[in-house]
Every structure is written in C-alpha cells, then in structure tokens.
C-alpha cells in the first residue's frame, strides 16, 4: 500500500501547542495567519499531497527520469502534476508578496513541505531547489534579475537549480574550477562541468534558471574566489520570454539507489562557445551567498528525514494492522491475529512513531524560531532565536535524516519478507532516505559545524541556554506529581540532559586543544543533542496533553501522546548515555591506528 495521509492532527498540535503558532501569527507580516486559515491550508495541501503526488511516488520510482542524449523526460504524470502544483499556487507559499508570493511564515511552510516530501520526495526536490534559487536572487540579485526571474519562479512557471558540485569539488567547494569570463557588457561566459544537479534538466517547464558557482579569471584561490551567476537554460528576449537556447547541456543523468524520478544531471556549460550568465551580488562572494541559503536547504533536507519516517511508519502500520500471522502471545489455541498484536511489532511501530513525532516537534519549533529570527521587531529576540536556529539546523538535518534511514529500515522489518520485495513499496522509502544523510552536507559536515562553529566557537552559550530550558521542563515534570508515566519521563529526561551536558563540557574543553579528538565524537554528539532535544519536546508534549485531558478533553490524541512520550523516554532517550560515553571516551580507539594498520 502506498497511500499517504498527512498527520494533520499531530501537525496542528505541534504548531499550536509546541511551536507557538499564535505567537508566530503576531509577528509583523503574519497578520493574516490564523488557526482557521492554517487548518484550511493543511487540509488542501493534504488533499493535493495524497491525491496527486502520493500516487505518483511508486510509478516514479519504477519508471524514473529518462535521458535521451540531451533532453530529460520526467516520469509519467510528472509534468501534469507539476503544472497542477504550480497552478494551485503552492510554489509561492512562503515567497515574498512583492514577487507574487503569499509570504506565509516558515512554520506553515514547513508543515506543508513535510506533506510534499512524504507524499513524493523525488517530486518535492524540484520546488525545493527552485526555492533555493528564489532566495538567492531575492537576497543578492540585481533589480533586473529580480524582475526577470522572480515572478516566473515564484509562480512555478520556471524552475531553478543550484550548481555547486563538480567532479573534483564535492564537500570541498574550494576546488570549484568552472570559469566565468566577463564579456564587457555586464554578461559573463561560463565554461565548465557541474555534476549532481537536481532537476538540472527536465520537460516540465519552458525555462530553467541555473544558479552556478564559477571563478572569475583574476579570482583568488580557494573559497574566497568563487562567484555566483544566473544562467538560464533559454536566454530571455527583450519582453522577458524565453528566447535562444543557452550553451548549457545535460550530458547525462545518474542511475541512483533512490529518488529515481528526480533527474540528477551532469550539466556542461560552454561546450559551444560559452553559456551566458549574469553575476549575482558581488564578485568572489558566491560561496558566502550559498551559505546563507545553506541553512534553508539543510533544514529542508532534515524535513525529508521527518517526512520519509512518517511515510514509512504509515506504510508499516497499515501492514501490521492488516497482516494476520500467528496467535496472540500467551493465548493457547486462540484465533490468528494481525501482527500488530505481537509485542516486538508494537515496539518497532512505537519506535518509528515516537521518533518521527519527536523529529517533527524539533523541526517545527526550529521553524517557528526562524520566523521570530526574521520578523520579530526586537533585535535581541531576533538574535536569540537566530542563535537557536543556527545551533539546531545541523541537528534537524543530521539527526532526522540518520533516523529516517533506521526508521525506513524498521518499516521494512515490520513487513518481514514482504518488505524485502519491491512490490510492497516499503523498500522504496529505505532507498529514498539513503541520500538524505549525504546531500546538502553529509552528517559529518553537519556535526563538524555543530561542534565547531555552533558550539565551541561561541563557548557553548546557546547550547547551555538550551540545556537550562530543558531543565525547566524537568522541573515542570517534577511538579506534575506521581503519575507513573511522568515519573518515567522525568527520570529519563533528567539523565539524558546530564549526559548531554557532559558531552558539551568535553567538546568545549577539547575542541581548541585537540580538534581531531573532539571531531571523532561529532556525529555521536549531534545524535545526542537530537535525542535529548526530542526528549525535551516530547516531555513538553506530554505536559500539554496532560493539561488538556485535565481540562476535560476527550480527544484520544492527548492520551496517545502521553504514551508515546513515555515510550520515547524509555526506549529512545536512554541512548543518550551511550552516545555521551562515546563522545567523551571515543577518540583514542578511533585515531590510534596508522593508515597501514587498517
């Protein structure tokens, strides 16, 4: 079964009761936002995701995008779905109203994005990359570039791409070799080859706007010598319509483990005299601009982790309720039961569910902080929120995506032998999830950013503030009295926080004097922060739920949430101890061997 229904109730809960939708709605520029409007948007996005995008997920995986020597044909149904997607206005959700966007807050955009990604990750990459391009042009483009490209990209009429990677320049973008030669008329000729360009070529729109990193002739070596250019697939006529074909060709597409329907292109610029482009912002500052967008992109990939986990969970849950196998444990000669009755299947499902909910909670809370960081009238509030966002984005990205692989794998396990068979569809989620820990910066790159720039460099100010906030929740749990679930959650969260604190102290003490030793523990540290932050938010969720129940709510959702939070506290949060141990003690074993000894 490959149906998908957005978990709207949990999305609403997280938005309203954990991420502070009401507060976001009070921010300047968000005046139109209300719970009603958000519900209507979620409802309609869910209809589109489940009705249009989800049914194409599997056929897209099977058919894939096809390259015929120059053009790329997207999978059957893709072109029509994209047209509908753009016509429905979804591409414009969070874009600036000045260029036709709706200017909705990131919190709302995040929930909607989760639906696109869960319904059809391969499809969702196209609008995601377009958004990156829109943002680059919005932030640093010239007025001419804005006028020429933004309305068309915001409306979805044209799509955008990000051209960073080259064969020799992957994680290390300092090695970019693509050249840009000024023509003296304000344009540049671009020469070089880019790889791994998502939706670099396709048949869904009549133009594609490439943003390309390249070096000017006199540029300094390394990261400070890279500039950013806009290079459209079709040059624009005087009236702004697509005209002559630019000298950028798709020379092949990759055959991948997953996301088959998303064309991953090799683009050749300038094989026939030079691709014409224009400079974005100032010379030699391209990488800096890319980093502005990097946070967005990393967050979006983190959402892929959340989304795929949700999809894999729904898939496994449906199967577990349906598949009859064996009798209930402890019942002799009883009737055959569906496998959801078996304790280990339950454990697997709860593990999938509780982690997915924790990841969603963290991502949405970060999204709301991002809104405050951009829109709050008070500069101090903006700065405080920005620091929290900066700290947590590597976690949203790294933790959610690493988890999604495990969760999708657990989803296969729930299916037993049927899960290993492609026809069942569970395997696709596992294959699709596998890229998420790699692109937009591998988990190690996220983790290095987290322990270096986001923790050690600022002396742990932000992370310590977060730990203090978490301790506040422990205190609230303490006030809650002796209810068993809350005692368990409190105990587990308290020791999780202590484990995190020990790891933070180690990183702060070690990073400056032995960066390698600190870095061995970087990925465990990232997971540790993710797990404890997830525990903190699940505990908050349990507290809110308990309050709602006490107020008389009969909504099963709240009771379920308390149980889910308790499962998380008992099964997931205890991993914090092990991770903290590895952070603090793990360097010696990892670094001691000579290369020859491997």
């Amino acid at each position: 079964m490959s149906q998908y229904t957005a978990p709207i109730r949990d999305m609403q809960f997280v938005m309203r009761e954990l991420a502070g939708l009401d507060e976001v709605a009070k921010l300047p520029g968000c005046e139109e936002v209300s719970a009603d409007l958000v519900d209507a948007i979620l409802d309609e996005a869910n209809k589109f995701a489940s009705g249009v995008l989800a049914p194409l997920n599997r056929t897209g995986d099977q058919e894939g995008a096809k390259w015929d020597g120059g053009n790329v044909r997207t999978a059957p149904g893709w072109k029509e779905a994209y047209k509908q997607f753009a016509e429905a206005g979804w591409t414009a959700l969070a874009c600036e109203p000045e260029f036709g966007g709706q200017g909705l807050p990131k919190l709302v955009a995040t929930a909607v994005m989760e639906m696109w990604k869960a319904a059809n990750m391969a499809f969702s990459l196209c609008p995601m990359l377009t958004n990156g391009a829109i943002e680059a042009v919005t932030l640093r483009g010239t007025d001419e570039q804005k006028a020429a490209y933004l309305p068309k990209m915001v409306s979805g009429e044209w799509t955008g791409t990000m051209n960073l990677t080259e064969p020799q320049a992957g994680s290390d973008l300092a090695a970019v070799r693509t050249r840009a030669e000024p023509q003296g008329d304000g344009t540049y000729k671009i020469f070089g080859q880019k790889i791994f360009i998502t939706y670099g070529e396709h048949d869904m729109t009549d133009n594609i706007v490439h943003l390309v990193l390249a070096r000017l002739p006199d540029a300094p070596e390394g990261v400070k010598g890279i500039s950013l250019f806009v290079v459209p697939k079709f040059l624009l006529n005087a009236d702004g319509t697509p005209g002559a074909r630019n000298d950028v060709q798709c020379v092949s597409i990759e055959h991948k483990l997953g996301i088959h329907a998303s064309p991953t292109c090799v683009l050749a610029f300038g094989d026939h005299g030079g691709a014409i482009g224009t400079l974005v912002g100032e010379e030699n500052r391209g990488l800096e601009y890319m980093f502005i967008m990097m946070n967005e992109a990393r967050f979006a990939v983190g959402m892929e982790g959340v989304a795929l986990s949700e999809r894999a969970y729904q898939h496994a849950l449906a199967y577990a309720k349906d598949r009859v196998q064996g009798t209930e444990m402890g019942v002799r000669g009883g009737p055959k039961v569906s496998i959801i009755h078996h304790p280990d299947v339950r454990r697997m499902l709860m593990s999938m569910k509780s982690q997915t909910e924790a990841m969603r909670a963290l991502a949405y809370v970060v999204a709301a902080a991002n809104d405050a960081a951009h829109r709050d009238p008070d500069a101090a509030v903006r700065a405080e929120n920005q620091a929290f966002v900066d700290l947590m984005i590597p976690v949203v990205k790294g933790w959610s995506t690493e988890n999604s692989i495990d969760i999708a794998s657990t989803g296969v396990q729930v299916h037993g032998g049927m899960g290993f068979i492609e026809e069942t569809g569970a395997a696709q989620h596992l294959r699709d999830s596998r890229i998420t820990t790699i692109y937009e910066g591998t988990t190690a790159i996220q983790a290095n950013d987290l322990i270096g720039r986001k923790t050690a460099r600022e002396g742990g100010v932000t992370i310590k503030a977060l730990i203090a906030e978490m301790r506040g929740v422990v205190a609230q749990l303490g006030e809650h009295g002796g209810e068993e679930a809350f005692v368990a959650i409190r105990r587990s969260l308290e020791s999780g926080i202590a484990a995190l604190e020990a790891a933070v102290e180690y990183v702060l003490a070690t990073y400056g004097k032995d960066v390698k030793a600190a870095s061995v523990g970087s990925v465990p540290f990232l997971k540790l922060l993710g797990i404890v932050a997830g525990g903190w938010l699940m505990a908050r969720a349990a507290l809110v739920s308990s309050m709602r129940v006490a107020e008389g709510s009969t909504d099963e959702f709240y009771k379920t949430k308390i149980v889910t939070a308790r499962f998380y506290a008992d099964h997931i949060l205890p991993q914090a101890q092990a991770l903290s141990y590895s952070v603090v003690n793990g360097a010696a074993g990892a670094l001691a061997l000579d290369e020859a000894q491997f």
Partner: protein, 310 residues
C-alpha cells in the same frame, strides 16, 4: 391501514425490484396495494396483479406518466395517499427520485434504504456506506421509505389482485425526458460492477485469460479484473488491476480465478459481498477469504461454470 407500494416498471413489464419491496411490505403485516403509474402500462399492471401478497393494483394510465417523472408521480402518490400507513418504493434510481418528494409533500420524514423491519414504525438501515446499521423509529403518521432490494426475498407469483384505475393527476409540465441510453451488452466498469471476474497467473498467458474469462464475464454481466501478477505478466493492461496498487472494489460477487491471494490483492477486494475462489492449490491464501472455494483445474471448471450460468 393498508400499505402502498410504488411499482418499478417500464410500462411493458414489472421490474424485479418491486417483488422485493412487496416482501418488505408484507413484513408490515397489512393489506398491500401497488400503484402503477405509466402510459399504456396495462401489461405491467397485469404483472403486478399476479404477485403473491398484493391485494389491489391501482393503475394511473396517462401519457404524462410515460417516463414517470418524479414531479408528476409524486403528485399522484400524494393525491392517493390517504388511508395508507406506509408508502414504499424500492431503492432504485426511480424510487430514490420519487420517495423523498412524496415525503416532503406529506410533511413527513423519509427512511432510505431499509434493510430490516422491526415493527410498523421501527426500521434498520445502513449508514456510513454500510459501516454501521442504524435502527430508527418514525414518529410520523405516514412512513415513506425506500427498500434495499437485496435485503428482502422476492415475492412469489400466484396472486390475483384486483386491478382498478386511478384518476390521473394533471401534467405539471415541469420536466420532460428527452431520451434514455441504456447500456446492454458492454461490460460494466470495474469500479461500478456488481459482479467481477478476476484472473491471476494461474491462467498461464494472455490468450487463456481472454479465452476463458470473457465468456464467463459475459454470461454473468460482469466486469473483468486481474491480479497484479497477471498484469505484470502482461496478460491484460494495468487498468484491470485489482489490489492495493490497482482498483479497490466491493462488488456483490467477486470470482477469483487462478489468483493465489497475495495480500496486496486481498486488500483490493476483501470488502466484496461474496467471494468465490477457484484455484488448484488448496493451500492458496485466497481460500481464507472466500465464501465459496472450489479447488480444481480452472481450465475445466471455468467452461463448466459458463455453461451452468449461461
């Protein structure tokens, strides 16, 4: 008080749905009158007179009842409603068209799709697409209802009811039927079919699929479906596919021929009312969901079945 049944007919003959409705009326325990509104509908009225349990046939024969528009028929029913405790119509397109109109004109509720009669004022009917059964009690003086025909036996023959003419009402002139296109021979659509004959890999190849299953489908007026395996093997196009990744169906009768019963297939058809499985493997999982299982060689069984139902 007597019960009035609105006859379902095409002037030339009575439709079977009326027989089930008469059986439902009989459970209410009163005298049963049947109203035949039509044009040149004496033949249909004569059919009604022979239905066991009917005591009186009331015939309104006029040109403007030819196509039995709801506006004219409802007005006629209301004009003749006095003295009846219950007014029944079958849950057919016609019955559903007319009965609510009658009820509103009488200022009473209408009870739709009745599947059970508990007493003269208490009825059982499906709600939420049959996922729940509601027992409802009417406080109205006249109970107007439509009857789900599959829930009641057809009334037998052997009656000899009196046939009397009823004065036709005026032609309200609000609606006129311009034409009807009735599908006769074409196979029904999978999603809408009452009977589906579905084939799996047990058929061996495309030629066998068509050679064996088409005559059976035609004999039963059934739609044709297929398992994922049969589609993957190229026997039939993908739009035949029943299952999780194909169409979800719930016909009255689902005949699975040479289908082993993979979970993904079962998910697409397990809500069928009656499931028949024909398979040579007695252990095939399809038998766990089948109401009637026949273990045997489908190459012999299917032609035999065509003869038996043809």
């Amino acid at each position: 008080m007597a019960i009035l049944v609105i006859a379902e007919h095409d002037n030339a003959s009575l439709k079977a749905a009326t027989l089930n409705t008469v059986s439902a009326a009989a459970k209410l325990g009163s005298e049963i009158h049947v109203l035949v509104a039509g044009a040149n509908c004496a033949a249909a009225a004569a059919d009604v007179a022979k239905v066991a349990g009917v005591t009186k046939v009331r015939v309104a024969d006029a040109a403007h009842y030819d196509s039995q528009t709801a506006e004219n028929v409802a007005a006629l029913v209301v004009a003749n409603a006095s003295g009846y405790s219950h007014i029944l119509a079958p849950s057919t397109a016609n019955g559903k068209n007319v009965a609510p109109r009658v009820a509103a004109l009488l200022d009473v509720a209408q009870i739709s799709d009745v599947t059970g009669i508990e007493s003269a004022d208490t009825f059982v009917r499906p709600i939420y697409a049959g996922n729940a059964m509601a027992t409802v009690k009417s406080s109205d003086a006249v109970k107007v209802m439509t009857v789900r025909t599959t829930a009641f036996e057809a009334a037998g023959q052997g009656g000899a009811a009196a046939v009397e003419a009823v004065a036709a009402g005026p032609d309200l002139g609000l609606a006129s039927v311009k034409g009807r296109e009735l599908t006769k021979s074409a196979r029904p659509e999978l999603g809408a079919a009452k009977i589906i004959v579905s084939g799996g890999r047990g058929l061996g190849n495309s030629e066998n699929y068509h050679k064996l299953l088409e005559p059976l489908a035609d004999a039963l007026g059934a739609a044709l479906g297929a398992s994922r395996a049969a589609v993957d093997a190229g026997y039939v196009p993908n739009d035949y596919q029943v299952g999780q990744t194909g169409k979800i169906v719930a016909p009255q009768l689902y005949i699975a021929v040479g289908i082993s019963g993979a979970i993904q297939h079962l998910a697409g058809m397990k809500d069928s009312k009656v499931i028949v499985a024909i398979n040579k493997d007695p252990e095939a999982p399809i038998f766990q969901v089948a109401d009637y299982g026949l273990v045997g060689d489908l190459f012999e069984v299917v032609p035999e079945l065509v003869k038996a139902v043809g």
